[in-house]
């Protein structure tokens, strides 16, 4: 069975062809660069770019996989969560395609896609040993940061254990980069600078790291960096800049890793997974690996291209329902919110318990 996946939820236009074992025959991702000068994603520009690139990206995926539309058994498209206008472009493209080619189409929750990305295999990479179910996953990206227990391949088999109350981890990276004048996106540049910095040099707030909760909060540390910049000005020399990056990144990574291990213990699972764009962070990968080893857990990290937004993970996440013969042709609507049940209330204030 071959699934065509489409992804347009944020600032990446993706199309991919994946078979029913998770083997990726083609995975085309066109990243939008139009947002750079605005210091963040402009929804209208994202939608415009998706429309411009959707068709070409789709054609390219079919050509790369060396298959024709007739070989495709079903279509999977991201329908939530994300920017509504951006999601609509992919959904309409998928809908038109499904209607014309008389193939089933299913809507996929983008977060489920990220959580299952670890099962993808790529012909040009050494075969990975996929995790055994159940596992606990940390999903950290520019839009989401949460811990999940994953018991199976469908929405109902994924349970949120705790999420951020405010900013996503990736969002904190972007905002700190903006405060330091490092441009957008912030993750890769901070990671690179942090490598040669002293993580203990700058006193910054610790992001909810002491509490025995699986919830996160990153707005405090973001403000802490902003205050430091207000008080000291933007770093005047390279080493200070590296130190600020290292101090910020260490605190964020420490919290993420600590809660991942805590969640695995609470859920009594043997495997942990990190997913989402922040999983591309070098320090997160290293420290998660060390912490997992120490705790007797197996850590599985998807390859880099499976961590960032892509359509292969969407195709794989749609597979289970397509295989069961389900079809959303008559009911495919977009939503800015995930369909996964959430346990964390956003915003400030006291929590019960």
């Amino acid at each position: 069975m071959l699934v065509l996946g489409l992804e347009t939820s944020c600032d990446e236009t993706g199309a991919a062809i994946v078979d029913d074992t998770g083997r990726v025959l083609a995975d085309v991702v066109q990243s939008q660069v139009v947002h750079t000068e605005f210091g963040g994603i402009v929804p209208e520009l994202a939608s415009r770019d998706h429309l411009k690139n959707g068709g070409p990206v789709l054609h390219q995926a079919l050509a790369l996989a060396n298959v024709s539309l007739a070989d495709i058994d079903g279509i999977a498209v991201t329908c939530r969560p994300g920017l509504s206008g951006a999601l609509l472009v992919g959904v309409q493209l998928a809908r038109g395609l499904a209607w014309a080619s008389e193939k089933p189409v299913v809507g996929v929750d983008h977060l489920v896609g990220h959580l299952l990305a670890v099962f993808l295999s790529y012909p040009d990479l050494a075969p990975a040993d996929p995790p055994k179910l159940p596992f606990v996953a940390l999903l950290a990206s520019g839009g989401h940061t949460a811990l999940y227990r994953v018991d199976g391949f469908e929405l109902s088999a994924v349970r949120e254990l705790g999420a951020t109350r405010d900013d996503a981890a990736g969002e904190a990276f972007d905002k700190v980069a903006k405060a330091l004048g490092l441009g957008y996106p912030g993750g890769p540049v901070i990671d690179r600078l942090a490598k040669e910095g002293n993580p203990d040099a700058i006193p910054l707030a610790r992001p909810m790291s002491g509490k025995h909760t699986l919830e996160f909060s990153f707005s405090g540390i973001k403000t802490s960096v902003a205050r430091w910049v207000e008080a000291h000005g933007r770093p005047g020399d390279d080493q200070t800049l590296r130190d600020v990056c290292a101090s910020f990144q260490r605190r964020v990574v420490d919290t993420l890793v600590k809660k991942l291990v805590l969640a695995a213990r609470q859920e009594r699972v043997e495997t942990v997974v990190i997913a989402g764009g922040v999983a591309a962070n070098r320090e997160l990968r290293e420290r998660a690996h060390a912490a997992a080893t120490k705790a007797g857990l197996r850590l599985v990290v998807p390859p880099f291209r499976a961590c960032t937004d892509n359509a292969a993970m969407i195709a794989f996440a749609g597979l289970t329902r397509l295989r069961r013969g389900e079809d959303d042709s008559d009911a495919l609507s977009v939503s800015p919110k995930t369909a996964l049940a959430t346990v964390t209330r956003k915003g400030s204030g006291r929590r019960a318990g």
Partner: protein, 224 residues
């Protein structure tokens, strides 16, 4: 030549089947923000009415705006998906141009198509004899736009349901010229060389985003 045309730039969504420039079936809806939900049912409806199979279609036509940004994309992406699925060409045409093309022959020229653009503006475009565009589609202030158009195009016939409200001197009203409609798109697309297709939506207005006015850190330029 059998055409399927889609138009979703305004609050009315429309789908037509045409044999050349002859309209065969037309279906519309006016449910608010529901183009994405309603289009497919409209397609099935016109095909059933005409007794055609989707595989008999030769080309797709779609309205490229100006109009609602999201509405436009809903129709264009859908048409692109169908074109890909049927392996047929899709041809884009201007939505204001479609209003001018949907008028009966006895309506004189120049014709100026008007469409509510929200935010106290109107979209407008003028067409000379045989539908030749006089300049590009533009967004004009609602208060002063009509006066400037009347001055630029003396004796023009104004089209669009918004015409009377704006106090247009000479207004022609009809179902398919009151708002951009797939019927007008079909007239345009039937005779158009695919090479002359409008490929990018006619947004007319920019995204409204303002670039940041922050100089990049000099350190990073060296570090990067």
């Amino acid at each position: 030549m059998r055409l399927l045309c889609i138009e979703t730039s305004s609050r009315r969504g429309s789908v037509v089947l045409a044999e050349g420039t002859r309209l065969v079936a037309r279906a519309t809806h006016s449910e608010l923000n529901a183009h994405a939900e309603r289009l497919r049912a409209l397609l099935d409806q016109v095909l059933a009415e005409a007794g055609w199979s989707k595989h008999q279609l030769d080309r797709l036509g779609v309205g490229m705006g100006p109009g609602s940004f999201t509405g436009l994309r809903v129709g264009i992406a859908f048409a692109q998906g169908i074109a890909l699925g049927l392996d047929r060409p899709w041809i884009g045409a201007g939505s204001l141009e479609a209003m001018a093309a949907a008028c009966p022959a006895e309506v004189g020229w120049p014709r100026v198509a008007l469409l509510d653009a929200r935010r106290d503006e109107i979209f407008a475009q003028a067409f000379a004899g045989a539908g030749r565009p006089e300049g590009i589609a533009e967004a004009l202030p609602r208060a002063s736009g009509l006066a400037s158009l009347a001055e630029r195009y003396p004796g023009a016939v104004f089209l669009g349901e918004i015409g009377p409200a704006l106090g247009a001197p000479s207004v022609f009203r009809s179902e398919t010229s009151d708002l951009p409609d797939a019927a007008g798109i079909a007239v345009l697309v039937a005779g158009r060389d695919p090479a002359d297709s409008v490929r990018e939506p006619l947004y007319v207005r920019d995204s409204g985003a303002t670039p940041q006015n922050l100089p990049p850190s000099p350190i990073v330029r060296r570090a990067g």
